[in-house]
Symmetry: C2
Amino acid sequence: MLPGMGHGADGRKPTPSRLDLAAAKSVATTLQALATPSRLMILGRLREGSATVGELADAVQMEQSAVSHQLRLLRNLGLVDGVRQGRSIVYSLYDSHVAQLLDEAVYHAEHLRLGATDRESATG
Amino acid sequence: MLPGMGHGADGRKPTPSRLDLAAAKSVATTLQALATPSRLMILGRLREGSATVGELADAVQMEQSAVSHQLRLLRNLGLVDGVRQGRSIVYSLYDSHVAQLLDEAVYHAEHLRLGATDRESATG
DNA sequence: CTAAGACATGAAGATATGTTCATGCAAGCG
DNA sequence: CGCTTGCATGAACATATCTTCATGTCTTAG
């Protein structure tokens, strides 16, 4: 159970109360899984459908080992799930929440990027 | 608006095509701004309304310097904006996208956490 | 059992990141 | 102008993170 952020079992979240440290840590941990290009691409690929580690490695242009390490991380966070199929292991997004979070993250991130296109090298 | 119902206020977002490396980097960069407890708490506080650096530092229990550093980062990413008001500088979320992304991130993160509560210490 | 394929894991090294410390810059006050 | 308040900035240190290398485990085949 997450302390400090109970938003009711009615499925409706009233007003997103302020983030306490525990909640912030929890959210940060999950978000960090989406905060790196490699994992983002892995998830992006998985969003289109299940794939084996080899396929993932090929899709994201990474070493098999690196992919495995990231998959382990994603698995521990409950973002993906892998099942054996013969000698391969087929990974897929854990549920629709992952896909949604991914979509929304991309969506907002793009918009935010547009709003801050050249803000980075603006007059400091 | 209700988080979790999807962000499609306009109802149509282009088919989230596969993430290429450039897009992944961009999204990852933005998401990384939300991937740490400190920044998450700063944004969480800002989500409730504007605040000066001092107020933020007090709210999130951080040194003023640390807050400033993080604000600089958030500002460069276009997530927050600060304007002078006397000796203080009042910060606020740049626009509703930030608030939305924040809400949705929290929402999904919580759900995902619930699904993976004890996955971390599973039979290993 | 031996051999090969597919994936996982541990250790190590290079980077990146976040906080702190000391200091600089800006604004208000007398 | 000098002093105080409020914030920003740079350097440094501790930590976390990601990738690579070598090796282990599990599965299928003969």
